[in-house]
């Protein structure tokens, strides 16, 4: 801080805040407004108080979507972050041939749009043509159809892992780069092996970056949309119209014409995501300065 208290700072932050108000605060306010109304077939739009909220919380389709993203969060995120952690540690160890190549090529899928990643996966996993089909035919294997209803969530997990493992690796890797190398030297002099150094120095240093990566993953899981939405056009039997909460709100606004109800669910999920992210962040940074 270099200035006395003055209004000049507003001239710098003002433009951002103006747009922020328009695309963040106003939609939140508008959907809160919409959520207390309902359009009925008879009688037009009327005030319904908390009715849309009680409907949300007793809607089995809403809960099915929520539990699906919760399962996704519990299974896919640890696998993805675990892989990202292993790769980050491997690259940081300096024991790889071609470190730069590893860093770039594992990060590269991040540059691929989710649309392209999902379309590719649709082709690759297609039973009719595509790799799984060729493998089954050529080698006489019997790999189950990744686009069948039982496997589709796993397939989505695979796509998301592919897209973001490198990004998370980068977050963790950057966390490792700021560790003072003198610590490793001191540990080595004390006779600590690689695994001991990882446990005693590197993992504790990664606590903050891991929290950040996890929070992004929580947000990503709760808001899952693009992958299921596109797979829906490739494997219509496997993806329902309420597969995830976002798929459901999309369906409600654009096919179901239930705008008020859709805004309610969007709001509930937005708030839920923020609460979960906040609680996780508070819990996991407890005791850190």
């Amino acid at each position: 801080m270099v200035t006395r208290r003055s209004w000049i700072g507003w001239q710098f932050t003002g433009p951002f805040l103006a747009v922020f108000a328009l695309v963040f605060l106003a939609p939140i306010g508008y959907s809160a407004y919409l959520s207390v109304f309902r359009t009925k077939l008879v009688g037009g739009t009327g005030f319904v108080g908390m009715e849309n909220y009680t409907k949300t919380f007793s809607d089995p389709q809403f809960w099915e979507g929520v539990s699906r993203v919760a399962i996704f969060l519990a299974v896919q995120v640890p696998i993805m972050l675990g892989l990202a952690l292993l790769v980050a540690l491997a690259i940081d160890s300096g024991r790889l041939y071609g470190t730069g190549f590893f860093r770039v090529s594992i990060f590269l899928p991040y540059a691929v749009p989710a649309v392209v990643a999902t379309l590719m996966c649709g082709f690759l996993y297609g039973i009719r043509f595509g790799l799984v089909g060729s493998l089954n035919e050529g080698l006489g294997l019997n790999i189950p159809d990744p686009l069948a209803p039982d496997w589709i969530l796993t397939t989505i997990g695979n796509i998301v892992t592919w897209e973001f493992v490198g990004y998370n690796m980068l977050i963790l890797y950057s966390g490792l780069r700021v560790v003072d190398t003198a610590l490793y030297e001191a540990a080595a002099i004390d006779g600590a092996g690689q695994f001991r150094i990882i446990r005693a120095i590197k993992l504790p240093a990664l606590r903050g970056p891991l929290v950040v990566a996890t929070i992004f993953s929580i947000i990503g899981s709760f808001q899952l949309f693009t992958e299921p939405q596109i797979l829906k056009s490739i494997a219509p039997n496997a993806i329902t119209t309420y597969f995830t909460p976002n798929v459901y709100t999309y369906q409600l606004s654009f096919t179901g014409q239930q705008v008020n109800y859709s805004a309610t669910i969007a709001l509930v999920m937005g708030v839920a995501t923020m609460i979960v992210a906040y609680l996780f962040q508070r819990r996991s940074l407890k005791g850190v300065d």
Partner: protein, 305 residues
């Protein structure tokens, strides 16, 4: 600010380009570790290899030959030609739209984030704490959750199905602001600003002539991540746009792929594949060229409590 991890510029010496990764104590390289990590590289590169190979095949080979090897005919140029001429060359239009959305959206988002981040880092002003709170909410609030409400609001304002419907929401990147704020705190020394003031330079003049160059490495990284976010955007265009002439590449490819589902629709998987390749090449090239920045730049990176 103790509850939230803060992010520091990777350039440990403020004001300099990010240092190249420091070469650590030479250690024995390990073949085993390289091979094991190599499995991960195969996992990440295999689909891209498949895409590149498939883009060289004609429709017949695409269905009839093994995915990871070339077909009988090398049809890449024909495929590219067809992609750009199909439906009166709408693919080129999508590409230009994407470039427009990215240039204005991601460029604008980066500028706004830089101004605001710098403002927060270098000035004390009434309501500063309130701004922090708002930004933190913005980071935690997923933009996809806001997509449908934003659509409903924009529909009221008559903004849907116009380029503004894509550009305006792309202009705000709370996380970008956060990164710029932490970066500016360290990268712009207060002494320089003070001496500029003594010389009578206005604050905005100082920002553009003195501070901006110092912020450049952080700026490039934030820009790169904003570009990816805008280039890859799908949910927002999907709900905002009806007119195919306004589609970005992602939505256009989706619509081509959807044709196979409609009765009597033209099945153009070969064009979807070539189009996908053309969509990702610019971003991959950008990432390869700007490695120096995103690898050692902030990259949502060097996070410390």
């Amino acid at each position: 600010m103790t509850a939230v991890p803060t992010i520091r510029p990777a350039a440990r010496r403020p004001g300099h380009a990010p240092a190249p990764p420091v070469s650590r104590r030479p250690r024995a390289r390990s073949r085993t570790l390289t091979v094991v990590t190599g499995v991960m590289v195969i996992y990440t590169l295999l689909p891209l290899a498949w895409l590149a190979i498939s883009a060289t095949k004609n429709q017949e080979d695409l269905l009839g030959t093994f995915g990871l090897w070339f077909g009988g005919e090398f049809a890449l140029l024909e495929n590219i030609g067809q992609t750009f001429t199909y439906q009166d060359g709408i693919f080129g239009r999508w590409m230009l739209n994407t470039v427009l959305y990215v240039a204005v959206g991601a460029g604008g988002a980066t500028l706004l984030a830089a101004l605001a981040g710098y403002g927060l880092a270098k000035f004390d002003f009434p309501g500063r704490r309130g701004v922090f709170a708002v930004v933190l909410i913005g980071i935690a609030c997923p933009s996809t959750a806001l997509a449908v409400p934003t659509f409903l609001m924009f529909a009221r304002m008559g903004l849907t199905d116009t380029p503004w419907a894509i550009i305006i929401p792309s202009l705000v990147s709370p996380f970008g602001l956060y990164l710029m704020w932490t970066y500016a705190t360290e990268a712009v020394p207060n002494e320089i600003l003070e001496s500029a003031r003594v010389d009578g330079a206005g604050e905005f003049r100082t920002f553009f002539t003195i501070s901006l160059p110092l912020l450049a490495p952080g700026l490039v990284t934030v820009l790169l991540f904003n570009i990816v976010a805008t280039w890859n955007n799908f949910f927002l265009p999907l709900i905002m746009l009806k007119d195919p002439d306004l589609f970005p590449l992602t939505l256009g490819l989706y619509s081509w792929n959807m044709q196979a589902n409609t009765v009597g629709g033209d099945v153009v998987f070969d064009l979807v594949i070539t189009g996908s390749l053309l969509t990702i090449v610019p971003l991959i090239v950008a990432f390869l060229l700007l490695q120096r920045y995103w690898q050692s730049g902030l990259a949502a990176g060097s996070v410390k409590q």
